[in-house]
C-alpha cells in the first residue's frame, strides 16, 4: 500500500457515498448499500495496490466533491442527484468508475451479509461442498431409443 495515496476520513466518506450509489441499498431484498456495508476502506486499499490507480481514485473523488459544490458535499445529495453526478463525471472521465465498479462488485458480492441475503451459506465451498440431485434417469429414455449416431469406419 502507498501512504501518499491513502484516503483521509473525508475522502472515505465521499467514497462510501459513491459506493452506495454504485450499489444502493435494497431494503425489500434485505441488501445493504455497498458504502453502508463499510467497504470503502477495503475497496480503496485494493485499488491503492496499483499506484497509478490510487491516483485515479484520489483525483476522481476530489473532482466529484468539487462538482457536488454544496457545503455538505456529495454524501449529502439525494441518491438520484448522486447517480446523475456520477454519470456526468463518467461521460468525461471514464477511468474512475471503470476501476471502482468491478472492485466494488467483488467486495460486495463476497461479503457474508450479501451472500446470506442471496440465499447462500456464507462460507467457501470447501470442505462442506454441496449435495446435488442425481437427476431423473427416465429423461434418457428417448435418447436410448435412437439408432447409433457415429459413423463406422
Amino acid at each position: 500500500m502507498h501512504d501518499e495515496a491513502t484516503l483521509d476520513d473525508a475522502r472515505l466518506t465521499t467514497l462510501a457515498a459513491v459506493l452506495d450509489t454504485i450499489i444502493p441499498p435494497s431494503p425489500e431484498r434485505g441488501l445493504p448499500g455497498a458504502g453502508e456495508l463499510g467497504l470503502a476502506p477495503s475497496v480503496s486499499g485494493e485499488i491503492e495496490r496499483t499506484p497509478a490507480l490510487a491516483a485515479l481514485i484520489a483525483t476522481g473523488l476530489a473532482r466529484i466533491e468539487h462538482a457536488a459544490s454544496t457545503a455538505t458535499g456529495f454524501a449529502a445529495l439525494e441518491p438520484e442527484a448522486r447517480e446523475r453526478l456520477l454519470r456526468e463525471d463518467a461521460a468525461t472521465e471514464a477511468g474512475f468508475l471503470r476501476v471502482l465498479v468491478p472492485q466494488t462488485y467483488v467486495s460486495y458480492y463476497e461479503h457474508p451479509r450479501v451472500v446470506e441475503a442471496l440465499g447462500l451459506e456464507p462460507r467457501p465451498p470447501y470442505p462442506l461442498g454441496y449435495s446435488l440431485e442425481p437427476g431423473d434417469p427416465s429423461l434418457l429414455d428417448p435418447v436410448r431409443q435412437r439408432p447409433k449416431l457415429y459413423r463406422d469406419c
Partner: protein, 534 residues
C-alpha cells in the same frame, strides 16, 4: 549425483508426461521428468478460503500473462482472437481443467477419407480403444454406458449428477428430440484409487481442493513416483542438445535458482503441450537444425488448432442451483457432431453444458458482458442474473491451416530469459459457419429448456485451452514431424506425446485422447525397446 545421465528424460509433467511416465515405469528404466512448475497444494486452492471467487481473476486466472507466476512463461497472443489458457505445474493444464473427458469418434481419425479435408491419422479408434479404457481407470472417469453417439464403452464410475440445472437443459434437448448424454468426466464420483469422491464444490477451474478431479498430480504422478520415476520440479528446459551423431543427448535447463544445468539422456520425450513443445524445438537451434530441432520441413509450430468455442448463456425464470457441482461436467450433446454438408460446413461440434457461477463471478462476468448496470437498476438486473443462468459451449472442430502457428517472439522472454512463444491465429470460413450454426442451435435448445433470453460469445476469447497440431503425426516426413508412434522423423531418439502431435482436432475436448496417445506411444516404445532408434 543429481545430474547423472538417465535412460528416459521427459520434459513436462502435465496430462501426457504423467501418463507416459507411469506407463514406462514398469520397465524399471531410469526415468526423470523435468517440470518448470512446482507441486500444487490443494489446501491452498481458492475454494478453501474467504475471497475464493476473486482469486479466479488474479493468481488463478486462466491466462499465464495475467497470473505472471514465476513458473509461468508469457505468451504473445495479441494476433489471435482467442487467447491461450494453460497452467504450469505438476499436473499442467489438468490443474485448472474442467475434466470434461469425451473420446474422439472413430470418424475423427479418417477426416480425409470420409470428408475430403485435412489428413487422416496414421492410427485409428480401434488402436486407441484399449488405451482410452486404461486412461479411464487411471484418471477415474465417471459416465454412463449406452451412449448412442459412441461405440460401446464402460466408464468405471457413475455419472456426475445433473442437478436441477442439468435436468432443465436435458428437458430442452428432449423437447427438440436432440441427442444428449451424461458427460464422461474425469471426476471421482465415488472414492477411487485413494481419491475422495466429488462433493460438488463448483469451481473446478481453480483447482480441486477435494482431490476428486483427475488432475495428474493426484492420478498418474503418485503411482509413477511409487514405481521409481523421478520428478524434478522448478526446472525449465531451455534447449534440447544434439550429439555429433545427430541424436538428442540431453537438455540444458534452468534450476529453481535460475542456474543453467545440463541433464544427459538416452531418449528425450517432449510433453510441454501444443505451445510449449514447438517453443522448445524452435529454441533448440544447431548447425544441423538452424531453424529449430526436428524442423527440416519447416512445420514445427504450424497448423495450430484451438477449437473455437461458441458460448451461449440462457437466463431462466427460476433459480437453478448452478453454483453447485462441477462447472463443466454434466451433459454433452453430439447431435451436430458428424459431418452433414447440407449445414454449409464440414465436420462438426459438441455441446458441453456449463453450470452457473457464484455471486462474485456472476457480477464480474455480467458486467463485462454489459448486462449489469451500477446505480438504481443494479439489484433488479442482478436478481435476474444470479443463479438463473445456464450455458452451452459449442466446441467446434478446428482444421489444420499452416498460417495458424506458434513462433518465437522476437522480444518477449520468460523469467529465465528464454524466448517466449507468439501465436498467430485466425478463424477459417468453415469455423465461422460452424460457430454460427452452434450459436443458433444453442439458442434454440436454451429456448426449448425455458430460457427467456440468451447471451452469445463466439468465439469465446479465453478459450485457447486446447492446444493442438503444432508437431503433427504422420507417415510422410515431408508433411509431419513425428511418425505414427510419436518419434521425430528427423531425430530418432526424440519423441513427442502432447497435444502438438494431433493431426486434426475433432469436436471434443482433447485430454482423454492426448493421454490415450501417450499410453499408446509408451506401449509402442516398450515393444520396440531393442530397436527403438531404427
Amino acid at each position: 549425483m543429481a545430474n547423472d545421465p538417465v535412460d528416459i528424460l521427459i520434459v513436462g509433467a502435465g496430462a501426457s508426461g504423467a501418463a507416459l511416465a507411469w506407463s514406462l515405469s514398469d520397465t524399471r528404466m531410469n526415468i526423470l521428468c523435468l517440470e518448470q512448475g512446482g507441486w500444487m497444494d490443494p489446501a491452498q486452492y481458492p475454494s478453501t478460503g474467504a475471497g475464493w471467487e476473486r482469486r479466479r481473476f488474479s493468481d488463478f486466472s486462466l491466462s499465464p500473462n495475467s497470473r505472471g507466476r514465476r513458473d509461468d512463461y508469457p505468451i504473445n497472443d495479441s494476433e489471435s482472437p482467442i487467447s491461450v489458457s494453460n497452467f504450469n505445474a505438476v499436473g499442467g493444464g489438468t490443474i485448472l481443467y474442467a475434466g470434461h473427458f469425451p473420446r474422439f469418434h472413430p470418424s475423427d481419425f479418417k477426416v480425409k477419407t470420409l470428408d475430403g479435408v485435412a489428413d487422416d491419422w496414421p492410427i485409428d479408434y480401434t488402436t486407441l480403444e484399449p488405451y482410452y479404457a486404461q486412461n479411464d481407470q487411471m484418471m477415474g472417469v465417471a459416465g454412463l454406458a449406452g451412449d448412442p453417439a459412441y461405440p460401446p464403452k464402460e466408464p468405471p464410475l457413475p455419472p456426475v449428477p445433473l442437478g436441477k440445472l442439468g435436468e432443465t437443459l436435458a428437458r430442452g434437448f428432449n423437447t427438440l428430440g436432440w441427442h444428449w448424454w451424461p458427460s464422461d468426466s474425469a471426476i471421482a464420483t465415488r472414492e477411487h484409487a485413494g481419491r475422495a469422491r466429488c462433493i460438488n464444490l463448483g469451481p473446478c477451474l481453480t483447482g480441486c481442493a477435494q482431490g476428486a478431479k483427475g488432475s495428474t498430480d493426484v492420478t498418474y504422478w503418485p503411482a509413477a513416483i511409487r514405481r521409481g520415476v523421478a520428478l524434478r520440479t522448478h526446472c525449465r528446459v531451455r534447449e534440447i542438445t544434439l550429439g555429433p551423431d545427430g541424436m538428442a543427448n540431453g537438455v540444458l535447463y534452468h534450476d529453481a535458482a535460475g542456474a543453467l544445468q545440463r541433464q544427459a539422456a538416452e531418449v528425450v520425450v517432449l510433453a510441454c503441450n501444443g505451445v510449449g513443445t514447438p517453443r522448445l524445438l524452435l529454441n533448440s537451434r544447431s548447425k544441423q537444425f538452424p531453424d529449430g530441432l526436428a524442423n527440416r520441413n519447416g512445420l514445427v509450430g504450424k497448423n495450430l488448432m484451438l477449437h473455437p468455442y461458441a458460448m451461449v448463456s440462457g437466463s431462466f425464470p427460476e433459480r437453478l442451483e448452478g453454483y453447485k457441482g462441477p462447472t463443466g461436467c454434466m451433459l454433452i450433446s453430439q447431435e451436430f457432431y458428424e459431418t452433414d454438408a447440407s449445414r454449409g460446413f464440414l465436420r462438426g461440434y459438441s455441446f458441453e453444458g456449463v453450470r452457473g457461477d457464484g455471486p462474485v463471478s456472476t457480477a464480474i462476468l455480467s458486467m463485462a458482458a454489459g448486462e449489469l448496470p451500477w446505480g438504481a437498476e443494479h439489484h433488479d438486473s442482478y436478481e435476474a442474473l444470479f443463479d438463473r443462468g445456464a450455458s452451452f459451449v459449442g466446441i467446434c472442430e478446428d482444421l489444420p491451416e499452416t498460417h495458424n502457428c506458434v513462433t518465437l517472439d522476437p522480444e518477449l522472454v520468460d523469467a529465465d530469459g528464454i524466448p517466449a512463444p507468439k501465436i498467430q491465429y485466425r478463424l477459417s470460413e468453415n469455423s465461422e459457419k460452424m460457430l454460427a450454426h452452434a450459436v443458433a442451435r444453442a439458442e434454440e435448445v436454451l429456448g426449448a429448456a425455458g430460457a427467456t433470453r440468451t447471451r452469445v460469445q463466439a468465439p469465446l476469447p479465453p478459450a485457447g485451452w486446447h492446444l493442438m497440431g503444432t508437431a503433427r503425426m504422420g507417415t510422410d516426413p515431408e508433411r509431419s514431424i513425428v511418425n505414427e508412434w510419436g518419434r521425430c522423423h528427423d531425430v530418432s531418439n526424440l519423441f513427442i506425446v502432447d497435444g502438438s502431435i494431433f493431426v486434426t482436432s475433432a469436436g471434443v475436448n482433447p485430454t482423454n485422447t492426448i493421454q490415450a496417445l501417450a499410453l499408446y506411444i509408451a506401449d509402442t516404445m516398450k515393444q520396440n525397446l531393442a530397436n527403438l532408434f531404427d
